[in-house]
Amino acid sequence: MRRVNLYHDKRAQWAVYVVFFGILAIIPLSMDDPFTMNQYSRYGVFAMLALSVSLVWGFGGILSLGQGIAFGMAAYGMGATMQMQYQDPVNDPIPSFMLTNELEVLPTIWEPFWHTHLGLILAIGIPVLFFVIFGILMFQARIAGAFVAIMTLAMLGAWYNMAYDMQPYTAGFNGISPPSAFVAFGVEVDPYSNLIYWVSLGVLCVLTLATKALLQTKFGTIVQAIRDDPERARFLGYNVAYYQIVLFALAGLIAALAGLVWVMITQFVSPTSLDIFFSITMVIWAAVGGRMSLFGAIFGAMFINAAQSYVGDEFQATWFIILGAVFIIVVRFAPKGLAGLFEYVFGFIPYRVRGTSGARGDAHSASE
């Protein structure tokens, strides 16, 4: 018999996920409130973004401040798809905002979005492809650490400027608001229905469990190894850049899916989705919840956003100060976030499992 930290018990972790998503699944059965459904779906999207940050930063050691690039690109793709669902090929073939921007025919880059499936594929494919290319650019040059952060930030800034300068194609600063809800396979995804909740939480659930499963494969161990010491991994025969590119693209994929669902919920996309502040906020969510725990990151995103929605009036003016202070405290004293605190507390819970291959009696996993 030996003592270990319950926190590190993989089965307990899975149990927490099952229970968590189980509870989330019950919520719509117990209520029928369009506002709550809409709001919780939004939290679901934020949780996906925190998940992507957790994967790429917490597990991969790549501090990307550019997750908004994938989010924003996918959001624009989805916005275009939904806008074109609203347009009529015969009577009204061009979105209103283009007509007032000296465009008389639909631009070629908008043509594919007539087809919903193609539009969805592009909305996901283009950001992922961009992340692959951008990843190759960075990681083959062995750029790491803070420089990745700065480069992703600069790239985000470039796209932000682009989105709002290319007014005839993106509606500029005002953004695109598709007037009708998204229709897929003949079903209207009403942004105030239980359906939107299922979509958002469903995507979150699948992404979370898939990411969790991925991290338990050898690939997951290797990316964490690369995070700890890329050079060591390289001399063990791993093409570190290749792994980082794949991981970066996967995180981009998650953020892109979040962007897709986001536009389904809000029917609106503008350059603010590429805002630098927003992308850094995602990092705050993940950091506060615990970047090295998927569950922690998801929880952090939901918790901070719920707090933002529900704190009383007396905190409104000081909200950013509170957020900033919490963030400073977390970074300074609890780099593993709330999840790290749990890990610490769980270390005191007496919990034993049958030891493996002659383990020592008193060896217990250390906690931070």
């Binding site: 700065i150 790239m155 007014q167 005839p168 705050i284 100060i321 400073i328 300074r332």
Partner: protein
């Protein structure tokens, strides 16, 4: 934006003026980036709150002028000490504990910037403010077809002066020698009796002070408002990173970036110029990492 008015045709005189404007932009970016260069170059800290230090400099100049009536020129050095002192406190209270976690300094300083922006907004309100500059600086110098506001000439020379001062401090003074020793090898510097903590604290305070003086100076040219830092910090970062965290590197990159941006925005427009500049920098970082990551070869 249609194609025909996207490009401005070339004309010599305004083009020369554009080149001069490029120098002026370069001097603004340089002075904004100088403090960051010291902080990054010395301790590898990516100070995301640098823009807010600039903002604090502008606000402290404004407060001194508006409430106490101190003339603007005197506000400049005073801002240096006020913001420098604030930077010293931030270093003592926060940054000092994070030196072995460079990524976390980036995040923690971002938290600091959030707190600073909102605090300033709560204290002074969100309205933009302005500051009175001496009348001599509110006019323009005319040399044939060349027209340069004296304010920009002033900033240009002050920024060069600050660079010279920084270099002099780094290379001639005792503190500078200590800073450079710690920059090169912390352990070895410690074995020579250099208190690296003290040096870091001073370097951070010095960098913050430079941000303060630049903020006070920009307040004469531009607008003072709580979010103003964001307008400088991105360019400042790019200058520092591309320049490799060295003072002369920043000098060179600020010059190149200022000119490129001015020329791009002369021919196209400001927003597009910015896009091209960002992309060029990302590509540059890809192909010239050695010039940037000076310490990267020294592992194990």
């Amino acid at each position: 934006m249609s194609v025909h008015d996207f490009w401005t045709p070339f004309a010599l005189e305004p083009f020369i003026n554009a080149l001069i404007i490029g120098l002026s932009l370069a001097s603004i970016w340089l002075v904004a980036a100088l403090g960051l260069t010291i902080i990054y170059g010395t301790m590898g800290v990516i100070n995301m709150a640098h823009g807010e230090f600039i903002m604090l400099g502008a606000y402290s100049a404004w407060v001194m002028q508006f409430f106490i009536g101190i003339p603007w020129l005197l506000c400049l050095p005073l801002s240096f000490f006020i913001v420098g002192g604030f930077g010293w406190l931030v270093e003592r209270g926060l940054i000092r504990h994070l030196y072995d976690r460079p990524l976390d300094t980036l995040l923690a300083t971002w938290g600091v910037s959030l707190v600073l922006v909102q605090s300033v907004r709560l204290i002074f309100g969100g309205e933009p403010q302005y500051i009175d500059v001496p009348d001599e600086l509110s006019t323009v110098m005319n040399l044939g077809f060349i027209h340069i506001p004296w304010m920009r000439i002033f900033i240009f020379f002050v920024s060069l002066g600050l660079v010279a001062m920084t270099l002099a401090i780094l290379f001639k003074t005792n503190m500078g020698i200590q800073i450079r020793a710690v920059m090169q090898n912390k352990e070895m510097a410690a074995s020579f009796g250099i208190n690296s903590k003290r040096v870091y604290g001073l370097a951070f305070a010095f960098g913050a002070g430079l941000a303060g003086i630049s903020g006070a100076m920009f307040s004469g040219l531009k607008t003072i408002f709580p979010d103003m830092g964001l307008g400088y910090v991105v360019e400042a970062f790019l200058v520092v990173v591309t320049g490799g965290g060295e003072v002369l590197g920043s000098l060179a990159t600020a010059g190149i970036m200022g000119e490129l941006f001015s020329v791009f925005s002369y021919f196209t427009n400001d927003t597009f110029g910015r896009f091209v500049l960002f992309v060029l920098i990302v590509i540059f970082l890809r192909f010239r990492p050695q010039g940037i990551f000076t310490p990267s070869m020294a592992r194990r």
